[in-house]
């Protein structure tokens, strides 16, 4: 859901960006260098943005020979803003030395003609000095770029940031527009963090980021511009801290099926010092509180005819350009003829032509206390206009009202019969106060001892999880015993043998050697049959030895098993009787052998 919303917002944002810049057409010319030697080539580039399908008209360029033309399209993607620029590069070779001017190129698009500026190029004999390239745009460069950790082969001019202000001297609470521009020549960027702190100021964003291209020192840059309005809180010398930007340059590696390599960078602009003047004391009106800007003031009241004790809502609307946070409610000097209540304040903010504007509406309820109240008194609102450097006071005339005596209605009956008969009136809020205390302390808990911070809270769920795994394990084993007969026989082999040995021991105690050896033999045979997965009738010395050998049993154990088989035969068929000690030794040996066999894992 969350990702869905993010994707939807991004789609809307991308679409909105497209709409916003659909009419932005840029047509500029630039050269790779304004000074070249006679043997150098000059690259004259016409860049077209926003005029798809339009072809420029190249001016007649004298004193140069056209060697070739190339067309390239540049895509850039910065934070979901896609820009497409078509570049037509003309390679020119100078014919002779001198100072030449490349005339304006023109572009016709939808009935409009766009022109570039002429560019002057100096062609010298011998080697040309290293001079920055020139363009048809004047450069804007407010802060020296400083690039840290920018990986090779990115040169410092690939990427830099500037912070600029529209004014460096301003009054307290006057709007200063702070622009934060990122100039870049790389195709794709991933901006992680922009830090532009202006402590000592309140601030408000001036809309979404703008993107455009600009040529600085002859180099075409994509520019991403963010603006905010800042309002100094106090006077004096204030400093806007350096703007910082961190992110990654994304470099495509390995073609279509490749990956994006991230090259981190960190940029920083210079701090800006501002001089903030205090508001002048001269000419400061008495009503002035703190409002700075250029405002209009409107005063209305409703209703204008009431009975004593009935409320009148006085609405004071202050609208215009400036920091609305500095606008306080103008005072209504009601005296003792009215009771006043705390106002309700509504603020609407906006931005118009880069200036913060809006409307602040104060709604104050006043109640006439006697019929002597004939009018709502005059109200004045004063503000300081930083554009003119003067205070201005807007005065509104008193609003006449008609107040009649309230009929003596006695105590208010809260519960009355159904219907709306004559003499009924709505319950009026006479005064505002906090609601009464509660009678019961409610659900008491030990302060700071949240049950989820106790170890037991976490131990019990973990134990429950272990319990689940235990039940799962037991059930899985049961299922396997039910469904896998071989496994079931293997698991039950030892238990079954022990039972039979117990029985054999009773024969041993009774001195019945024949039944003793018969029981031990059955137990041994059955055990080996179950353990090795041999049908009970097929158990014999050879097959058991083979199975044990393939299960990786030691040779001594196999030999011992074979000896046991021989002894069984001897005891059952050759021996007429045995003493108890002999039988007991034999039983102990067989039990030990089975214990050893238990350790062998049969697949």
């Amino acid at each position: 859901m969350r990702y869905g919303i993010i994707i939807l917002i991004n789609i809307v944002f991308i679409f909105a960006q497209g709409v916003v810049h659909a009419e932005d057409i840029s047509f500029t010319a630039s050269v790779n260098s304004t000074t070249i030697s006679k043997s150098d080539q000059l690259v004259y580039t016409l860049a077209i943005e926003g005029a798809r399908g339009a072809n420029p008209i190249l001016p007649a360029i004298s004193n140069f020979e056209l060697l070739g033309t190339s067309v390239s399209t540049q895509f850039s993607l910065v934070n979901s803003n896609t820009r497409i620029i078509k570049n037509l590069a003309y390679t020119l070779m100078p014919i002779k030395a001198g100072i030449f001017t490349i005339p304006m190129a023109s572009l016709e698009y939808r009935g409009k003609t766009y022109l570039t500026k002429p560019i002057t190029v100096t062609v010298v004999d011998g080697t040309a000095p290293q001079i920055a390239p020139a363009t048809d745009n004047s450069p804007v460069h407010q802060a020296a770029p400083k690039i840290n950790n920018l990986p090779e082969p990115q040169s410092p001019k690939q990427l830099f940031i500037t912070t600029t202000v529209d004014k460096k001297v301003a009054y307290v609470d006057e709007q200063i527009t702070l622009n934060f521009n990122l100039f870049f020549r790389v195709d794709r960027l991933n901006i992680q963090n922009i830090s532009l702190k202006s402590i000592g100021f309140t601030e408000q964003d001036l809309g979404n980021e703008k993107t455009y291209t600009q040529i600085v020192d002859g180099v075409r840059y994509n520019v991403s511009e963010r603006s905010k309005a800042i309002f100094p809180i106090s006077s004096g010398e204030l400093t806007i801290r350096p703007g910082e930007l961190r992110g990654d340059i994304l470099v495509r590696r390995g073609g279509f099926f490749g990956y994006d390599e991230r090259k981190p960078f960190s940029l920083r602009s210079d701090p800006i010092k501002l001089t903030i003047k205090p508001l002048p004391r001269k000419g400061r009106p008495e009503e002035f509180k703190r409002a700075v800007g250029d405002y209009r003031f409107d005063l209305t009241a409703n209703p204008l005819a009431v009975k004593v004790g009935e409320p009148i809502t006085v609405t004071m609307t202050i609208s215009g350009t400036g920091n609305l946070d500095t606008v306080s409610m103008p005072e209504i000097k009601c005296g003792k003829t009215f009771k006043t209540y705390p106002p309700e304040v509504g603020v609407t903010r906006g931005v118009r032509r880069g200036r913060v504007n809006g409307e602040k509406v104060f709604k104050q309820v006043i109640i006439p206390l006697s019929v002597e109240a004939k009018e709502i008194p005059a109200v004045s609102f004063s503000f300081f206009n930083p554009a003119t450097g003067k205070y201005r006071t807007l005065k509104k005339k008193p609003i006449p009202i008609r107040v009649e005596a309230a009929p003596d209605q006695g105590p208010v009956a809260l519960v009355e019969g159904a219907g709306s008969g004559p003499g009924r009136e709505r319950i009026k809020l006479l005064e505002k106060d906090i609601l009464y205390i509660k009678d019961s302390p409610g659900h008491l808990t030990r302060a700071g001892r949240f049950y989820y911070r106790r170890p037991l809270y976490w131990i019990i769920p973990i134990a429950a999880l272990f319990g689940l795994f235990a039940v799962w394990g037991i059930q899985s084993r049961r299922e396997k015993l039910r469904s896998d007969l071989v496994y079931a026989r293997q698991v039950g082999a030892s238990r079954s043998a022990r039972k039979r040995f117990k029985k054999a021991r009773t024969f041993l105690n009774a001195g019945d050697s024949e039944r003793f050896y018969g029981e031990v033999h059955r137990a041994f045979n059955r055990y080996l049959g179950d353990k090795l997965g041999i049908p009970s009738g097929a158990v014999g010395s050879t097959i058991v030895a083979d199975k044990l050998s393939s299960a990786g049993a030691a040779a001594e154990i196999i030999k011992e098993v074979e000896t046991c088989f021989s002894e069984f035969d001897l005891a059952r068929f050759a021996r007429s009787s045995s003493d108890k000690d002999e039988m007991n030794d034999f039983l102990v040996r067989v039990e030990r052998l089975i214990s050893k066999l238990e350790k062998i894992k049969v697949k």
Partner: protein, 255 residues
Amino acid sequence: MQIRILTLTLLISLSGIFTVHAEIPEAEIPSLFRQTNSLYAQGKYAEAVEGYNAILQAGWESGPLYYNLANTYFKLNNLGRAILNYRKAWNLSPGDPEISKNLEYAREGLRDDIAALPLSVWARARRAVILQFPLGIWIGISAALYFLTIAWLIAALLIRPLRKKSPLILKWLGGCLAISVVISIMAYSFYRTPGAIILQPTVSVRYGPAETDAAAFKLHEGTEVKVVRKKDGWLQIALPDGESGWLTADSLGII
């Protein structure tokens, strides 16, 4: 005369509790609470503050207790402590309309008008969901769903006929469990950054944690801030409009 004697006895018994800070059994809290309420009703707000604080100092807390204490501070014109205790009450009982109304009314007396940065639709929705219950309830719901899921899994393992219905029920249980765990984590992170209320009439917020650091702006009693960092008895606070600065810890009451 009888009332006077009764009040005097009550005060003496209360003062004994206040000075010794004895452990008060839970069973006695309602009685002490009611006695303190009667002090409030008589307009003895200073004594009522001591009564409510005695219960708090004994280690017990509840939404109504903080609410009554906040009302008492409000009556004593101590706006900062009133708002602080309304906020504590609201944290324990976010759905209580009386707490919300009194908090709103108390905030009408604030001197600082701070325009909060606008919240995104997602942030507003998230906040609305989180505030449906206190943090403890959200964690409790998650725990209950967790045990229910485990119990169902065990039952399905042991009782064969339940296994046929198991996938559908597990989908529901698992879905609800995942949602409640996510909300609990969001609620935990929401309540984790401690809020604080300015308790002094006017305080200077400085650029750094020292008296020598320049004052950036001033704040007034009752304004709510978020505490971002602590250092040597100073707290770095952040305002809803994005501003931040440093204050001494004694200027604030942590919610």
